[in-house]
């Protein structure tokens, strides 16, 4: 289990706003913070974790929810 610092719901967003919202939220958090992101749809499911990894953040978990959406846990990089 990870202590969640902040939560972001982007289930109503479409690309590229899904990662824009995620990136802005990560910027607002301190290094090492854990962001919980709720995602819906194939494209953000693929793109958001990939973009987060490319920017140096750690993907801690990606879990399917009962309604078919996904819960992504990201740890903000230490830089």
């Amino acid at each position: 289990m990870h202590d969640v610092t902040a939560t972001l719901d982007i289930t109503h967003e479409v690309c590229p706003m899904t990662y824009v919202r995620t990136k802005l939220k990560l910027e607002s958090l301190g290094a090492g913070a854990v962001l919980e992101v709720f995602i819906k749809g194939d494209e953000p499911l693929k793109n958001v974790p990939r973009s987060a990894r490319e920017e140096g953040h750690e993907v801690l978990a990606l879990e399917v929810q009962p309604d078919g959406s996904h819960r992504l846990l990201l740890r903000k990089h230490e830089r």
Binding site: L24, E27, S51, E55
Partner: protein
């Protein structure tokens, strides 16, 4: 400053860039640029900077026939650049309305003073040249280099040079190095390193 919702939507593709993000976009919006020159290179740079969120102030120099293009109409020829750009740039981006203190982007020949970034748009008769300097870059080496260059090209190469100059300005505004450098532009997309001329002090230091 915090980005407004309409700004997050407008600049979303810049925010996505790894080296920009929300903080970088805020920096682009907060700083201004002073434009000297009214050829294709300078006006293209002004449009790119304004579109990216950086307010641009132009000089009082009057626009010549070479200024006519996508920003400037034939009716604007003879009008002060500051007045015309003050009218048309907010149509490109309403955030570009209030020019603030900041850097300078100029078509050569030009005088250089004030706050960095400094971006010079010039050429050697066949190629375009961009020389740039951040606040930590040697202003004497910058001066030695731009002194040897002539006016920027016109036409398509001038437009491409203006876009490259705007990019150099934005990189410096975002704190991205190098603090001093130059690039030749032989044709749109054909970029090569421009070797800087060193001032006497920097020559000794090397």
């Amino acid at each position: 400053m915090a980005l407004r919702e309409d700004q997050i939507l407008r600049y979303s593709r810049q925010i996505l860039l790894k080296d920009v993000g929300g903080r970088g976009q805020e920096a682009l919006l907060e700083g201004g640029a002073r434009l000297e020159g009214s050829g294709p290179a300078g006006l293209t740079a002004a449009a790119y900077l304004a579109a990216g969120g950086t307010p641009v102030a132009a000089s009082e120099a009057r626009l010549g026939p070479a200024a006519v293009g996508f920003l400037i109409s034939e009716e604007d020829v003879g009008q002060p650049a500051a007045e015309v750009l003050g009218r048309v740039l907010p149509e490109v981006n309403p955030d570009a309305v209030h020019p603030q203190a900041g850097g300078r982007i100029a078509e050569l020949p030009a005088a250089w003073n004030g706050e960095a970034p400094w971006v010079a748009l010039g050429g050697d008769g066949t190629r375009g040249a961009v020389v740039f300097r951040g606040s930590q870059g040697c202003m004497w080496c910058f001066g030695e280099t731009v002194r040897t260059l002539g006016s920027p090209p016109t036409g398509v190469l001038g437009v491409a040079l203006g876009a490259l100059g705007a990019l150099a300005f934005q990189r410096l505004r975002l704190g991205m190095g190098p603090e001093l450098g130059g690039r030749w532009l032989a044709a749109p997309g054909q970029v090569a390193e421009l070797e800087l001329r060193r001032c006497a002090r920097c020559q000794v230091a090397r």
